[in-house]
């Protein structure tokens, strides 16, 4: 045993393939969830987005992009009438991205990784190595 760390995470310049996989997973967790290549603004205009998600609640969809200047993740769309679900999807994308990236990182370092659901919506990953 050695130490414990608590930390904030910040996603910048995410791996595009992993991000797409994450959005697919999150879409699968919502009724009517699917990947799109556009979202709809409040005025009803279609805006192209390389990656977007819509659900039966977030019907106008949400664009997921990476800001050119900062590399940060950006979620764009109109949350009117579905603010909670809109926020929940954002949070699920961030949590799932951090979880899958951590699994990949541990595996790359030679750990055998198991994942399970924890308390209060946490994802618990356990990496074990005998090296």
């Amino acid at each position: 045993m050695s130490h414990i760390v608590e930390a904030r995470t910040n996603i910048k310049n995410p791996d595009r393939a992993l991000l797409r996989q994450v959005v697919e997973i999150v879409a699968g967790q919502h009724a009517g969830g699917r990947l799109q290549d556009f979202y709809v603004t409040y005025e009803g205009a279609r805006r192209k987005s390389a990656l977007a998600i819509s659900t039966s609640v977030v019907r106008r969809g949400m664009g997921i992009s990476v800001k050119r200047d900062t590399g940060e993740l950006a979620f764009t769309g109109d949350p009117f009438g579905c603010r909670n679900e809109f926020q929940e999807i954002q949070q699920q994308i961030v949590q799932t991205y951090v979880s899958l990236a951590t699994m990949q990182a541990l595996q790359a370092l030679g750990y055998q990784v198991e994942s399970e659901d924890g308390e209060a919506g946490q994802v618990v990953l356990t990496g074990v190595t005998y090296a």
């Binding site: 949590q95 951590t102 370092l109 005998y130």
Partner: protein
């Protein structure tokens, strides 16, 4: 060979809790750095908000800190 384990909890807001278990001496710090580097490759920056050394690590740090003094005392003798 005893296993080394890292238990990681990812909260819904993306904050994380890393528990390094079964590492000897400062190996846990090496493993921590390696994990952070791999996460950075995938676009994740980890900003520590709390660091809690366990007794085993504290013992190593104390022995390392006292080493220069011990060497100095030997030199004076």
């Amino acid at each position: 060979m005893p296993s080394k384990k890292i238990v990681i909890k990812v909260k819904p807001d993306g904050t994380v809790y890393h528990d390094f278990v079964g590492f000897v001496g400062k190996d846990c710090m090496v493993a921590d750095d390696a994990l952070r580097a791999k996460l950075a490759e995938l676009g994740i920056q980890v900003e520590t908000t709390r660091f809690e050394p366990k007794p085993e690590l504290l013992n190593v740090q104390e022995s390392h800190q006292s080493l220069p003094m011990a060497q100095q005392q030997q030199g004076e003798a």
